[in-house]
């Protein structure tokens, strides 16, 4: 089912509407940045990959026709960009330090906890991480995640099963110290 707004946006963009595409970027930029950050663990890489995602979207606009929703189409492009991403540990470490400074107002425990979770995510194989991020954080169904990842729903389910088993072990200590959790 194509949302009416998406249909209108698509028509505008295909007619060369710069403004329409800019609006598309504006509306989806936080979601794509968030996805890229969860998949890379780096703010700088997330910025680069988000930009790459939208540039690719602009260049491959013809593919948009087959998609039900602009967000699903952007998810797929972003996931592909991130799957091709190479780990840059140095930048990740730098990010954590910068983040620590930015989040000075937040309680130290929360920052530490968030870093532990992101680090646990980064220990998952890339495709398992993508499955967890798309379903848990972005709220996609298995079918939507499968479309974004270019695999079957069964594969998504297996990846989620494996990812959950591993991340539970990695985050066991957070459950104990998590108070309400």
């Amino acid at each position: 089912m194509v949302a009416p707004d998406d249909r209108l946006r698509r028509a505008e963009c295909q007619n060369g509407g710069q403004e329409a595409f800019e609006n598309l970027v504006r509306e989806n930029q936080r979601m794509i940045h968030s996805l890229c950050y969860r998949l890379t663990g780096s703010m700088e890489d997330a910025e680069d990959l988000a930009q790459e995602t939208f540039v690719q979207a602009f260049q491959n606009f013809a593919e948009f026709r087959a998609e039900a929703k602009a967000s699903s189409w952007l998810y797929r492009i972003a996931v592909n960009c991130c799957l091709n991403w190479r780990k840059r540990r140095q930048r990740q470490d730098q990010t954590h330090q910068e983040w620590g400074r930015q989040e000075a107002e937040v309680a130290h425990d929360d920052t530490w906890r968030a870093q532990q979770i992101q680090e646990a995510l980064m220990k998952l194989p890339t495709k398992q991480r993508a499955a967890i991020v798309l379903t848990t954080y972005e709220g996609l169904t298995h079918a939507e995640a499968a479309r974004a990842l270019g695999c079957s729903e069964t594969t998504v389910s297996w990846r989620l099963f494996a990812a959950r088993a591993k991340i539970k072990r990695l985050l066991k200590h957070l459950q104990k110290t998590g108070g309400a959790l």
């Binding site: 595409f21 504006r26 930029q29 950050y37 703010m43 930009q51 602009f58 979770i117 848990t136 985050l171």
Partner: protein, 208 residues
């Protein structure tokens, strides 16, 4: 831990936020980039390039140039090292050959014409009688297309080198000569190298 508990833990980690100015500027940066790409694409369509593909940008030119320079340096290095490489005989090789020769000479006095060390092991060339002239044993290391062979032999003896017979001679200056049917090699030559073989030779007794 239940899946719902895990989800709750995962969701408790927020994505680090960025300032509002960033979100305001990001779409403009994307549009600026797409504009640049479109302008470039238009320019290429209107003014197709005639220069070779490897000269289409300074970056590509620099990359190709750097690649060629590195390839050239590697080639020079490899060729230089091949040219300058001289086959050498190491002290452990000499010590092992010396020990082996002494044992064989004890078993077959005056009969040892040559001992050959190759990939298959060691081979003895023995005379039927104890009439091999007494002279200083020589250690030879010869490398060719089929690998390396080491010999302990004497001046005046013949050895087989890849199916070819050659004579080993020691001149009065202590230089070793190998005389084949169509070639001659002397350790006195500066290059110490034959067209097909690399040879190193040294009297064995000098280090005894």
């Amino acid at each position: 831990m239940k899946n719902s508990e895990l989800d709750q833990i995962l969701k408790s980690a927020p994505v680090p936020d960025r300032p509002e100015a960033y979100w305001d500027q990001f779409p403009r940066r994307v549009m600026a980039k797409t504009d640049r790409l479109r302008t470039r694409a238009d320019a290429e369509t209107n003014h197709p390039r005639t220069e070779p593909f490897w000269l289409r940008s300074r970056f590509q030119f620099a990359t190709v140039g750097l690649g060629l320079a590195i390839s050239g340096l590697l080639l020079v290095f490899v060729l230089g090292s091949r040219q300058g490489r001289q086959l050498s005989i190491t002290e452990p090789q000499l010590a092992a050959a010396r020990k082996y020769f002494q044992e064989i000479e004890t078993l077959f006095p005056g009969q040892v014409q040559a001992i050959v060390f190759d990939q298959q092991g060691s081979h003895l060339l023995l005379a039927e009688r104890s009439n091999v002239p007494t002279s200083s044993p020589l250690y030879l290391r010869i490398c060719g297309p089929k690998g390396c062979q080491n010999y302990v032999t004497f001046s005046g003896q013949q050895i087989r080198l890849n199916g070819e017979t050659c004579e080993v001679l020691l001149d009065h200056h202590g230089n070793v000569l190998l005389v084949g049917q169509r070639w001659i090699f002397s350790t006195a030559q500066a290059s110490a190298k034959h067209a097909r073989y690399q040879v190193a030779a040294q009297p064995l007794e000098m280090t005894l």
